[in-house]
């Protein structure tokens, strides 16, 4: 049934025959995958298999590193229109707003908590005055951070705990009204409790956004993933769905073989 629904719906993101080279060294080769709204797709694989490069290829962040060459296509569907982001579908800055990214280590701006959110809101959406404050509160409530920071909004964001910083980063990403979220091991540097909070948050968010995540933890992958792509040496060697994820032992065996 689910498969049928998915076939009728168009994917929000489809990566086709994507290859990325750094200084002529292939990092990703011929990768294809699709992302549907309401689903979390998790990429797993040994380190150096190209997981982060795959995420950064979607929002074209790879281009900031020297000697990067990308071929293939990344098609995005927004408000019913779709196009290849490598062929001028939208401006680079708009692409990076629409495809938000969260990194392994929480990357807050070294400004106040408030400014971390208001800066992108002012820059892109031209929000000002009381609307700005309302919008900020709304987003902070969304990620469950409002109660913790409401009395210290002008404090430096770097004084927050790792888990709080990561939720602030997610909030900043959501402030820009994205369509797709890219999460690069978002809980890798966090303690168990903070990681659990973020996982819960992601399960809530998947109803509204397409989520492509990289995870280092197979247990976490089983908890949050709707689909899993196994990446090895720059190629997708296996795709798994709910069926495979249900039985932990079977999942472990598949992963062991794939790695």
């Amino acid at each position: 049934m689910e498969e049928t629904v998915r076939k009728i719906m168009e994917p929000i993101l489809s990566v086709e025959n994507l290859s990325v080279h750094f200084s002529d060294k292939p990092v990703l080769q011929d990768v294809s995958l699709s992302l549907w709204p309401g689903e979390i797709t998790v990429i797993v694989g040994p380190s150096g298999s190209g997981k982060s490069t795959l995420l950064r290829a979607v929002n074209r962040l790879n281009e900031l590193y020297p000697h990067c060459r990308t071929s293939g296509s990344v098609r995005l569907r927004i408000h019913g229109e779709s196009g290849d982001v490598y062929r001028g579908f939208m401006a680079l800055s708009e692409l990076r707003q629409r495809v938000g990214m969260v990194f392994q280590t929480p990357a807050v701006f070294p400004f106040s908590i408030q400014k971390n959110l208001t800066l992108p809101l002012q820059v892109y959406l031209g929000v000002n005055g009381s609307t700005l404050t309302e919008r900020m509160e709304e987003i902070l409530r969304d990620v469950g951070l409002w109660e913790e920071v409401k009395d210290r909004l002008r404090d430096d964001a770097t004084t927050l705990s790792g888990g709080q910083q990561q939720r602030l980063c997610i909030a900043r990403m959501l402030a820009l009204k994205p369509a797709v979220l890219l999460l690069d091991e978002p809980t890798a540097s966090l303690d168990f409790k903070s990681a659990a909070r973020i996982e819960k948050l992601l399960l809530n968010l998947k109803r509204r956004y397409g989520i492509l995540a990289v995870s280092h933890s197979l247990a976490q992958t089983r908890r949050i993933a709707d689909r899993v792509c196994v990446l090895r040496e720059g190629r997708i060697v296996q795709e798994l769905d709910h069926e495979h994820l249900r039985d932990p032992d079977a999942f472990q065996t598949i992963i062991d073989v794939a790695f």
Binding site: N59, L61, L64, L92, S93, E94, L95, R96, Q97, G100, M101, F103, T105, A107, F109, P110, F111, S112, Q114, K115, T118, L119, P120, V123, Y124, R154, D156, R172, M173, L176
Partner: protein
């Protein structure tokens, strides 16, 4: 064993820091000791009533007011030329220039930084000679020429410090703005410049300090012992460091020498005040950048 070496290094560090403070204290203490007696309105304005001198109603003879104003104009003019150009060049080198161009331009910046100030003075002097023979027979050494040569002298410091303070921002932070969709200019304005502002301030302070103390350049480009307050940028001018040099070299009695020490104190106060203003400006800018 480790403990002993640790202690030695710690001790040496304390000693160096302490030595630095001691040296500064001795110099300033000596200046105060020799100069404080002469620190009065007469030092600044001579026999002229101070209100009339400040308003420019009557010229000042015997006081250092014209030199005070000359140095102020010189520092202001040369900073106004060097700081914006230096910061802009530093930003270009750190953010926009290709690797090859960066090392090429960097070489020229270092070359400029290594130019002795007397050479820069000679350059200004020769430039005027050239202008007199060609385009501007009326041209003479003046405040504007001195300020331009001083600006050239301090420019490399401002460029280098701006460049290194932007490059010192860790890579994840440099790229963070792009990941939320900032354009290069927006990333520079909203993230990189605020983070580099403290370093850029040091560059500006160094420029101001250097501009206020240099004697060799102005000696050849327009300073004179008695010129009064310059009426325009194209007049000759007086300056505090030259006044100090002049008093120290040609004093007729001990009273004049002590006047030189008092003048040094005044120069120190000007630099100190300018530093303080720069620090306050940077602090308030940082608050504005970070909080709101």
């Amino acid at each position: 064993m480790k403990r002993v070496s640790d202690r030695i290094v710690t001790g040496a560090a304390w000693l160096s820091g302490g030595g630095l403070m001691l040296a500064a204290a001795v110099v300033i203490g000596f200046l105060i000791l020799r100069g404080y007696k002469n620190l009065d309105l007469a030092l600044l304005f001579g026999d002229t009533p101070w209100q009339a001198a400040i308003m420019g109603e009557r010229p000042v003879f015997g006081g250092i007011w014209p030199a005070f104003m000359g140095t102020f104009y010189l520092v202001f003019l040369s900073s106004a030329m060097a700081i914006p150009i230096g910061i802009a060049s530093g930003i270009y080198l750190a953010e926009y220039a290709s690797r090859r161009l960066r090392s090429l331009l960097g070489f020229f910046v270092d070359l400029l930084a290594g130019t002795p100030s007397i050479v820069m003075g000679l350059f200004g002097f020769t430039a005027i000679l050239f202008l007199r023979k060609t385009l501007l027979p009326e041209a003479q050494t003046c405040l504007f020429l001195a300020a331009a040569c001083i600006a050239l002298l301090v420019l490399p410091y401002v460029i280098r410090i701006t460049e290194t303070s932007i490059e010192a921002i860790p890579e994840p932070l440099r790229l963070l703005g792009y990941s939320v969709g900032f354009t290069r200019w927006r990333n520079l304005r909203s993230v990189l410049l605020p983070l580099a502002s403290r370093g850029m301030l040091s560059g500006a302070i160094l420029a101001v300090g250097r501009a206020s103390e240099d004697t060799a350049v102005i000696l050849l480009t327009g300073v004179v012992a008695h010129a009064g307050i310059p009426g325009s940028m194209f007049d000759k001018f007086e300056a505090l460091p030259f006044r100090i040099y002049y008093l120290a070299a040609e004093y007729r009695n001990l009273g004049e020498l002590d006047q030189g020490f008092a003048t040094s104190l005044v120069l120190l106060c000007i630099s100190g005040t300018l530093f303080l203003i720069a620090v306050c400006l940077q602090k308030s800018a940082e608050m504005r950048w970070k909080r709101r």
